[in-house]
Subunit: 395 residues, 2 copies
């Protein structure tokens, strides 16, 4: 099959390398040879083996009936949305590593794919190199997914692992930037937009409903301190940026926020840039998928697995997403659970009379406490708006 | 499609429950309805909804052209081997949860399946409810699996978790038996035959070569003591029954033996009856799959995923296994790695002059040490045959 690659960045280059370097293994897995006919990019690539495949106009690809599959590896919402729809409507399979466009427009794409009898696949959009979306769609199709808790952003997990070791946020971020784990503008990672997009995608796979970003609470990790992590450890856990979805009473509880993770959870031991996604399933119980959440070759491996699935005819059709409305989602403050809070001793003394903590620990002038189950909104109003007080949900 | 179930034990009963209880969801996943036409069992099941489907003669199933798929959930080598071959040769798909027969005769079955144009699938044979074999065959088909380290036996992992907490082996085993995690005769679990079978299967998926049991070293966990685990903790790790396969220099290194696992490995945090399998892959790097390694419904979920894959036409053909010979496997003693040893102080004093440990700790009258890399055989001859000395490979 002849294919086109949209975007010759890090992932696009990795996929090209893998296809050019493993022709016979890929042909054997696909049942036919894969040939890159076009690469869409604004730049030229003089000297690259695909130099003469570069085009700058999507219509060359859309209008070529020889192209059976398009790998959208551009990132961003536009023109990725328009290019994806044009390719699906031209009856080409589309595979994508672009979590932004999948999380915003996955409903349009899954509908267009179904109407045109082609596949829209996006294994690489969540969890980088971890086989995650195909196990959900293929292996767990006879069971219900009741809940998802994921560490899906390697940058923040690296930063939180450093903070756990005693480094403050700013120094941890600088080190992550120096190592290439964080971008110069780190806000999509540290303010949790990236994790928010990924949990939107996983939640849609589980429930069929794609939630717009305003219905998925995202909280920054900038406020997490070494002190909070040492208090968490004394309470038997740690703080991770958790992307959460659960489905009870017909409503989805969705968020991406720093949360307390007990050491008894395998997620507590997902360190550094690694990702881990824990699923609670109706038959299989707890499952966790762990691995590299980013990186050129891990992500390229996931893109290749989609290409092979689509070309070999062994892909399952992704379920068609509908758009979630406000009625489908539980407001963040309504969820009832236990909370971990940290507060200066002085503030705690005023609070202490109103709460009966299950666990109370201290470290110098700061206390950490585990509160019994209550609505998140009530926990927050209880402690008030003091900036020095933090409230974390316990997963 | 009409199917037959061989063996109405724990797993057979679970699969029957799931099929009878989720008809429309399964039909939608398969693209057609699944009907249980026969259940082969020696017993009758008066009052069971499948009472009138019970047969006692495999030839009824083999000779019925309406039966498209057979689920072999009997366990044991014989007659499972003969029944499986008869069904494959009658051009019926076979799915199996029976690690014993897959590990011994998987080469015959994958050959018969290929010759007859049907599927032989065995997701439930390793890792119970964890999607593991399909992710390997489907998602990782564009990459090479370089190594596998698995905690694949929940019974021994439960026992070792208890020993880590200070309980001795005999008491931990009794408790596992009381809770139904261990059988009355626990030897297949605790002497590692079960883990040996499972690593044989995973190794064959990675390399195409199925090793006979005499080429896969199996070591008991009966000799692991609370003292050894407390010394391991002081050295920064724990001891787990690790099923290992790696492929370097054209030879497979294969074993199922208690091994030292550093706390930095996610496998160190797989506790109780849970299983975890860590893969090292050429593109994706380290991946771990974690979940319930046994149990009626988790295992039934894996059997269902094979049934759905085969019936929907979305299964990939399992690679054809050939039988490994002695030349394909590295002798256990030849492997070079670091070792963790425990010894009485008195024996250590004699040894200490001959080794230069990287780490040396003690607990009462016992020492624990980490030795620099050497051949396993050399490590064992170094410490001699004193029963009170234990030598563990470090993964």
């Amino acid at each position: 099959m002849k294919i086109a690659i949209l975007g010759m960045g890090n992932i696009g280059g990795g996929v090209a390398d893998v296809i050019l370097g493993n022709k016979s293994a890929i042909a054997s897995a696909c049942g036919e040879e894969i040939e890159i006919k076009y690469v869409l990019d604004l730049r030229e690539f003089p000297g690259h083996p695909l130099e003469d495949k570069i085009v700058h106009d999507i219509s060359v690809i859309v209008s070529d009936p020889e192209v059976g599959l398009v790998a959208e590896l551009m990132g961003g919402s536009h023109p990725a949305r328009e290019f994806t729809l044009a390719c699906l409507n031209a009856k080409k399979h589309v595979v994508s590593s672009n979590k932004e466009v999948v999380s915003l427009f996955g409903d349009e794409f899954t509908a267009a794919a179904a109407e045109n009898g082609v596949h829209y696949l996006f294994e690489a959009s969540v969890g980088g190199g971890i086989p995650l979306i195909r196990p959900i769609t293929d292996c767990l199709s006879s069971e219900e997914i009741i809940g998802i808790d994921g560490i899906v952003n390697g940058t923040t997990n690296y930063i939180l692992t450093k903070i756990e070791g005693g480094t403050d946020f700013d120094s941890a971020l600088s080190e992550a930037q120096r190592l290439g784990y964080a971008e110069r503008d780190p806000s999509a990672d540290v303010d949790a937009a990236d994790a928010q997009r990924k949990i939107t995608i996983l939640s849609a796979l589980a429930s069929g409903k794609l939630a717009p970003p305003e219905l998925v609470r995202a909280e920054t990790v900038r406020t997490v301190t070494p002190k909070a992590l040492s208090l968490a450890a004394k309470c038997g856990g740690t703080v991770k940026l958790i992307a959460h979805a659960s489905f009870e009473g017909g409503k989805a509880d969705l968020f991406a926020a720093p949360s307390f993770v007990p050491f008894s959870s395998p997620l507590a031991h997902v360190s550094g840039v690694y990702n881990g996604v824990l699923l609670r399933c109706s038959l299989s119980g707890e499952l966790m998928f762990y691995g590299s959440g980013a990186g050129k070759y891990p992500t390229s491996g996931s893109v290749m697995s989609d290409i092979i699935a689509a070309v070999s005819g062994k892909a399952r059709r992704c379920r068609r997403f509908t758009r979630a409305s406000e009625d489908d989602v539980l407001p963040f403050g309504e969820h009832v659970c236990r909370h971990f809070i940290t507060a200066p001793k002085s503030s705690w003394e005023a609070l202490g009379e109103r709460v009966a903590p299950e666990v109370l620990v201290s470290d110098g002038d700061t206390v950490g406490a585990i509160l019994p189950p209550c609505r998140h909104g009530d926990a927050v109003s209880l402690v008030g708006t003091d900036e020095q007080i933090s409230v974390y949900r316990i997963i």
